[in-house]
Symmetry: C2
Subunit: 566 residues, 2 copies
């Protein structure tokens, strides 16, 4: 086996480091690559008009012959959302647990991808891929069937925790397999990668089970409709709503496309236990009294188009919030969503609903380990080297510091960035250069066709709008035949600002005169002159900087333009 040790183990994060989202990590040894997770993320505020963001996979495309498979830790979008886009470039086998692959299949259907190689690998099972021996380790997260994994490489064992918390009393199935994590720890872990999301929070995350009591308590005393909003993928949460509904004789209707999808998949695959006759269609709710109804819905993040927001805003086709409804928002706002969530809560109160939300009562628990759980994990794994993952830069830094407290040498932890090539031998861990990585923006069907210039224009347009100046000139002579006309959008309410528009036209005319006087004939120079003059005028007048777009149409009278289809 000596020859097998001639390579360094390379760990190359393509996403998920220094950010929350689009998790994707390349594990490479010689001519063997496996990839852990394949996620997407939601756009940052400045990515105007963008639908989703996926990692740049140039490196994988270049090395596609090496790629033995994608290994999925669980079925959240930030871990599986890039699969359809990846498969359109390289068709490699995908390994995951049953529920994870069920959710992947759903995605592939939407993208009309039929030739995917989905291979179930359940927790506790092992598979060999190239020089790697991979074992999925049962985890615990806010979605069932989540796993961590050990990857035995020629130079040592890598353990990746996946997203995890330590829940000793899970809603269904067995608790996280601490024993197996410990077993690898005993064998000797060369490098560990662990979830950093909640590293800033002291103590431990509560068990999902405490929500059961809360629901039971609220259902017990309620004699109106109950509406529960949560993340669609939180099957445990849905299960607890169903349990409470059954206990108090309520029917359950599901609302919201993603919630309907997940309930269907998880019910089919046996992850959701729904007594017959419990689920009813939204259309049939009218047959029941308010006190016999629970509606489970999406919209816990206040998303403007989600079912809950539409119910609160009276623009849902079938459901509307009414006075007396009990609405439980069983989620915390994801950072960045605080305002939209707050807005929905306000709307619900204005409709006269009673609202329960995380700021006033515990209707949610996190799916990520806090500091004491992270300490437990690192203590079990006892890794030689440590790479904190799944977090913004601040979280990775805090996690590396935590590892240091536990005796892991500061120099043995690497706080990396996407694209870094982290090289590991049995004795050393170092950053060594980097590969192409970054954000690919998806807007509608376009993947990567919106870049910085387009985004910069969108930003400018969004802040100040635009002014178009149209002129028609005669070809050859440059004589102005029509205009200047001014059209604006997003700039000012024109009807109430006729004077400003007229003055603007005068400014353009003066600029044109000056061009004639100075014999300026170059279109670009004329355009620039118009732009400069108008831009200064507008800024001086009202301190705004709209985009200014002079358009000059050259006309040749003697020629009828070709209107046929080229």
């Amino acid at each position: 086996m000596a020859t097998e040790k001639k390579h360094k183990l390379k760990i190359i994060p393509l996403g998920g480091l220094g950010e929350i989202g689009k998790n994707m990590t390349v594990i490479e040894y010689g001519s063997n690559i496996v990839v852990i997770d394949c996620g997407m993320s939601f756009p940052e505020d400045e990515m105007l008009g963008i639908d989703i963001v996926i990692p740049d996979i140039t490196y994988l495309i270049k090395n596609k012959d090496k790629v033995k498979g994608i290994l999925l830790t669980h079925g959240h979008e930030d871990h599986i959302g890039n699969i359809p886009y990846l498969l359109k470039k390289i068709n490699v086998p995908i390994y995951g647990t049953k529920l994870t692959l069920g959710l992947v299949e759903n995605k592939l259907l939407e993208h009309k991808i039929e030739d995917a190689q989905l291979k179930v690998l359940n927790a506790g099972k092992t598979i060999n891929l190239g020089c790697f021996k991979i074992t999925f380790i049962r985890g615990s997260h806010s979605i069932p069937d989540a796993v961590g994994m050990a990857i035995e490489t020629p130079i040592g064992i890598l353990v990746h925790t996946g997203d995890f918390k330590i829940d000793y009393t899970p809603i269904s199935g067995e608790a996280i397999d601490l024993d197996m994590f410990a077993e690898f720890g005993r064998k000797g872990v060369l490098v560990a990668m662990s979830d950093s999301t909640n590293v800033e929070r002291p103590g431990t995350t509560d068990s999902e089970r405490i929500i059961s009591n809360k629901f039971m308590e609220m259902f017990k005393t309620c004699d109106t409709r109950i509406i529960v909003a949560s993340f669609a993928s939180n099957v445990y949460r849905v299960q607890q709503v169903i349990n409470a509904a059954v206990a108090y004789g309520r029917k359950v209707a599901i609302s919201g496309r993603s919630m309907i999808n997940v309930v269907k998949v998880s019910q089919e695959l046996g992850y959701l236990d729904v007594p017959e006759g419990t689920l009813v269609h939204v259309n049939d709710l009218k047959r029941y009294k308010d006190s016999e109804i629970v509606i489970i819905t999406t919209g816990s993040q206040g998303e403007p188009l989600s079912a809950l927001t539409r119910m609160a805003n009276s623009d849902h086709k079938k459901l509307e919030i009414k006075a007396g409804d009990l609405v439980i928002i069983s989620a915390s706002p994801i950072p960045g969503n605080e305002k939209t969530v707050s807005r929905v809560i306000n709307m619900l109160y204005e409709k006269g609903a009673e609202v329960m939300y995380s700021a006033i009562t515990q209707v949610h628990v996190s799916g990520h380990a806090r500091r004491d759980e992270l300490k437990l994990m690192l203590t079990l794994l006892k890794p030689k080297f440590f790479i904190p993952v799944h977090g913004e830069y601040r979280h990775l830094i805090q996690h590396a510091k935590l590892a240091e407290e536990l005796g892991i040498d500061e120099k043995h932890s690497i706080v990396g960035k996407n694209g870094d090539v982290i090289e590991i031998t049995s004795k050393s861990i170092t950053k060594n250069g980097n590969v192409t990585s970054g954000n690919i923006l998806v807007d509608g069907l376009g993947v990567g066709d919106v870049g910085n210039i387009v985004l910069r224009d969108r930003k400018l347009l969004s802040e100040n709008g635009l002014i178009i100046i149209v002129l028609s000139t005669e070809r050859g002579t440059g004589r102005v035949l029509a205009g200047p006309e001014i059209v604006s959008r997003g700039f000012i309410y024109v009807r109430e600002n006729i004077d400003l528009i007229e003055e603007s036209k005068a400014v353009v005319r003066r600029a044109l005169c000056k061009c004639q006087e100075t014999n300026t004939r170059e279109w670009n120079n004329i355009k620039m002159a118009i732009k400069d003059a108008l831009s200064s005028f507008i800024y001086e007048k009202i301190k705004r900087s709209p985009m200014i777009l002079p358009i000059i149409v050259e006309v040749n009278n003697n020629e009828l333009p070709d209107l046929s289809d080229k």
Copy 2:
């Protein structure tokens, strides 16, 4: 005095109810009006390009002869920011404490307003305005010189708490005057209005003083530069940084325009105690060792143009964060700012700084009362009627519920909205209609010239960009002389999508042919035909909906257009 009771007391919130920001409340009795506060707010996310938002004061302009004065509770922007705009419409006297008016004066200078009537009214002092007798009551907030007030009206006493917390150990000056609040309570309070910001938080807010110990502790062990970011207006916080700096022999430099302003005003007016030789200019920092330097700066909310962000981003003219710097972000993210704050923290860590922020250690306390303090206040005031103020709708609702727990009849509390006319007699409180109210958007120098149509266009442009189609036609005949040309901005990167642009031109040409065939001559119809055809084509092709703007220039060959200045 019997005749004086013939009117109802009207309370009309023009801002600050159901929102955080632009606080402004009209108190009216017969022909007498006083206004409590005169604030602005920052734009919501969907108010693209807007700088600030101010309340609609149509009602005050209509009733300007009744207005006896504006009564300011403290100097925060959401309480004084609208003063310059109000004074441009109605010049009424403004009453406030010394520091509050010092900050107002600063604002008026910027707006070049010279004829304002600023009248100092200190805490504990009383003044008569029309039929009202007003007493300022010493409060406690995150800015010095904050007050609540009692307004004795012909039908009873109104008490407004202002923004407050109960701090028994303030940094300077005396503690909140609970005794005076209690005294009015004993006399009998007809209606109370109280700060609802922190009603969702149990317990009490910590004293500002605990920050002192924290600063001392951090300064003691630090031998590098220290940079502290906080709200400019938090003079207490600045004082504590200065105290720690003096204790550990550091010089203090101030950075950021608003910080420099506030330090100047509060030092001049005696609200900030700075030993001589402590303050140095940023330019002179090079004379000192890193261990002898503290920089106090703005940017605690991660504002992109703030001093701290620029220091972290290497685009500050004079200062740059370097490895080893200790950066203390002595503030919590205001809801909505979580992501910008997090981004700055990440940038600081990437520069190698050590960062202390509220998620990992207590470097900030709130200026607003929590539930137990709110209970204390209501218990002292024992009001007959209650109007929760200063909060989103959810906070007002929770505060009314809290009042109910304390024995205030549910029907005696009014959860109102801006514009509501709340009518009070000695026996009743009711909502009775409403007056004009709302948001006036300020963009550059324009006040109110950006409305819904302009914002809708900005949103559309920001999400999808625009496509302009230019055609030139002959006047009279409608013959197409030039075009169609296509110009786009914020839509797609044109050079890499030539095909799509060419196909789009063909689509426009086909639409034009169809118009000719069907003898469609009306410009608007031709434009609509072009728009519909192109819009469908683009959506089908790449699932996007850019704004489409057909521009048709009519040309008359025989006439030279008038280019002279009209």
